[in-house]
């Protein structure tokens, strides 16, 4: 492939600021957020490979006693949350100055906060190794560290909030800040100890579901809107209108849609109806987002200059639709969910949705911001596009393999009523397939990471070649 990507500051339509790649000096804090996030993603995949091995093969008792599956699984998911959040924060610090048209309120706070989050993360991961855990999936971080997380989040919100307050206010900033405040508030519901297991799970989902299908969607929509304006140069007014309509649909369906987690936990029957109806509609805003993205591309006068960023932006729209929309819809109705709940079908959905919606979104921002932060205007795009396809197809393969395992499990265990291990024995082959694709995910991410950090300025004539 001879394609090259052209990277321009400001972007067309925005028009005017072409003088600097990175218009505000304080945007540079994003650099380290992105680098750390990428490194943690690599680590997450390495741990994930070990989990796939644990599923696909027999691990001797002597190893299981020292390195239990549960410990490594806690690391896998916490690394996921940590790198995605650091990516979002870096994206926020990159985007806010350009939108608010002023420097970040405090650069030192931004760095202190990064160090704090990484320290909390490292302490938590080492702690898991010594059994220091709250023991609740995804919310394993022990309570004392939880308070530090809240302190770090408050620092972040203060810093971003002050920047927005003192600068220009745009719809994108409003949506972004709204999402971040919502995100921080929800975390509090995951902190107490609940005596009743049913209530425990009820509020656990206030964090987990309302993060991924609420607060994170707002952050995603804001970041995508920013990238759309920059890369395509379409009219800001149009992008903002669709931003409102899409987030309205996301929250309308997503809030009451939380009910799809309350079917089988000992909550009232009403949730079966409300959860079923609202979560069936959850696919609508995602479809709207995909249509919107393609509509932007076809808009008159739009020339996509940045092929790499655009590939990732389209990828995240489609990945979101497949992983979250279609895979989610497939098992969200109570009639289906009764049999698929708590099986590998959920794991398949989780991997496809997190990658499609949030990992690719972060990569969209990485590919927009990191070359600029490194002072690269034009670079050969073939390696970046290769990285995209290797990791995207590998995640798709992994998701499908887990899905097949999940359907087997649903049939053998839930419908035939055979024992758990009988089903697992039949599923083992598919975990070997999962492992196979996992290796390619690692490869794709390493290619992308390496290229993000090393892509060099391409010669002008090469850059002109389509």
């Amino acid at each position: 492939m001879q394609q090259t990507a052209t990277v321009r500051a400001g972007g067309i339509g925005m028009g005017v600021r072409d003088e600097k790649l990175v218009p505000y000096a304080s945007q540079r804090v994003a650099y380290w957020y992105f680098v750390v996030a990428l490194a943690l993603f690599v680590l997450q995949i390495v741990v994930g490979l070990w989990l796939a091995i644990s599923y696909a093969f027999t691990i001797p008792q002597s190893i299981v006693d020292v390195l239990p599956f549960g410990m490594t699984r806690a690391m896998h998911t916490n690394l996921l949350v940590l790198w995605l959040l650091l990516g979002f924060m870096g994206g926020t610090y990159y985007l806010v100055p350009e939108e608010a048209e002023r420097e970040i309120y405090s650069v030192p706070i931004a760095y202190i906060q990064l160090v704090a989050f990484v320290a909390i993360g490292v302490a938590a991961l080492i702690g898991f190794g010594f059994g220091y855990t709250q023991g609740r999936p995804l919310l394993e971080i022990p309570t004392p560290l939880d308070f530090l997380v809240v302190a770090g989040a408050l620092l972040f919100l203060f810093n971003v909030g002050m920047t927005v307050l003192k600068g220009k206010k745009t719809a994108i900033l409003g949506m972004l800040l709204g999402g971040l405040v919502f995100l921080a508030l929800l975390y509090i519901f995951g902190m107490p100890f609940y005596r009743n297991l049913t209530i425990d799970w009820f509020y656990w989902w206030w964090v987990v579901h309302l993060w991924v299908e609420g607060a994170w969607e707002l952050v995603t929509a804001a970041i995508l809107a920013f990238v759309l304006i920059k890369v395509t140069g379409v009219n800001r007014k149009v992008v903002e209108k669709y931003l409102y309509i899409e987030t309205a649909l996301f929250l309308f369906t997503g809030l009451a849609g939380t009910g799809h987690h309350y079917y089988w936990i000992g909550a009232p029957r009403t949730w079966l109806y409300v959860g079923g109806i609202f979560s069936a509609m959850e696919v609508l805003p995602i479809v709207a987002m995909v249509i919107d993205t393609f509509r932007t591309q076809r808009e008159k006068g739009v020339v996509i200059k940045d092929k790499v960023v655009w590939t990732f932006a389209l990828g995240t729209a489609i990945g979101h639709l497949v992983g979250a929309g279609i895979w989610g819809f497939a098992h969200t109705l109570p009639q289906v969910n009764y049999y698929t709940h708590g099986s590998q079908v959920t794991a398949s959905h989780g991997h496809l949705a997190f990658f499609g919606a949030y990992a690719l979104l972060n990569f969209t921002m990485f590919w927009y911001a990191l070359p600029r932060l490194r002072g690269v205007v034009k670079f050969k795009s073939s390696t970046a596009i290769l990285g995209f396809w290797v990791m995207s197809l590998a995640v798709l393969g992994l998701g499908v393999a887990m899905g097949v395992a999940g359907v087997l499990q649903t049939y053998i265990e839930r419908i035939m009523g055979q024992g758990f291990m009988t089903a697992q024995a039949q599923m083992q082959f598919w975990f070997k397939v999962v492992l196979f694709f996992g290796v390619f995910i690692l490869l794709g991410v390493l290619i992308s990471f390496w290229h993000l950090m090393t892509a060099r300025q391409a010669a002008e004539d090469a850059a002109e070649t389509p």
Binding site: I199, L255, T258, Y263, P268, W271, H341, M421
Partner: protein
């Protein structure tokens, strides 16, 4: 649609869903005590929940379908394998899963912690959650039946049910499905019939089973006679 109207659409849509969600949350709090038998949520049950979290059980197992899919769901574990079954598994996983292709770590659970866990899992097994999980419906039923029918069994059958069926199956009943791939514990109808039937009853030993200190010589004899008759 103007941008102002789009913003109004955003506000109204979000608020409508939020109001519905919060109203149902209130309703859930009204009903949850009855649905979960909150009157039976004793301090020991809560202690068991602490053990469950401290020992990271949820990072391999699901409960109410949430958690990790590496090991069986625990919502109805009490109905499925009973108090003794749970205690045997958590105290000596390396013995129970000796022949299994998937192991469970020995988590240094104390006797007290195991009792608390049993209390917790007994409580969860009675949560009214619309009969989920489907595969364990037969165990909740059989647990009821055991209570009703237990009195009519022969001493050998009763002892077998109490001590052996948390790992072994017989005639398609019990913890294991009886298929070799289950690799939990062999079905007791599978040993070579002639050899077993020729053995004196007292030689039916719990050699590879977890040591059962509470198994009296009388029980062992009764189980032996019961099994000898099965072939």
């Amino acid at each position: 649609m103007s941008n102002r109207n789009a913003f109004l659409f955003f506000l109204v849509g979000t608020l409508a869903s939020l109001v519905l969600f919060l109203a149902l949350t209130w309703d859930t709090h009204q009903q949850v005590d009855a649905l979960t038998n909150a009157d039976k949520l004793s301090d020991q049950v809560v202690a068991g929940k602490h053990v469950f979290e401290k020992k990271n059980c949820n990072e391999c197992h699901t409960i109410l379908g949430f958690g990790v899919y590496y090991a069986p769901d625990l919502t109805r574990a009490y109905a499925r394998i009973g108090a003794e079954g749970i205690k045997t598994v958590v105290l000596q996983p390396e013995v129970v899963f000796k022949d299994s292709f998937r192991k469970m770590p020995n988590l240094d659970v104390t006797e007290q912690e195991a009792d608390d866990l049993v209390a917790f899992l007994e409580w969860t097994s009675n949560i009214d959650n619309h009969d989920w999980p489907p595969q364990d419906k037969k165990f909740t039923k059989s647990a009821d039946q055991r209570r009703l029918e237990g009195a009519g069994l022969s001493p050998g059958a009763a002892a077998f049910k109490e001590y052996c069926m948390s790992c072994h199956s017989i005639g398609g009943e019990g913890a294991a499905s009886g298929r070799p791939s289950t690799r939990w514990a062999p079905s007791t109808t599978r040993p070579p019939s002639r050899r077993t039937s020729q053995l004196p009853p007292q030689s039916i030993r719990t050699r590879r089973c977890p040591p059962r200190t509470d198994l009296t010589e009388q029980d062992r004899q009764a189980i032996g006679e019961f099994l000898a008759k099965q072939n």
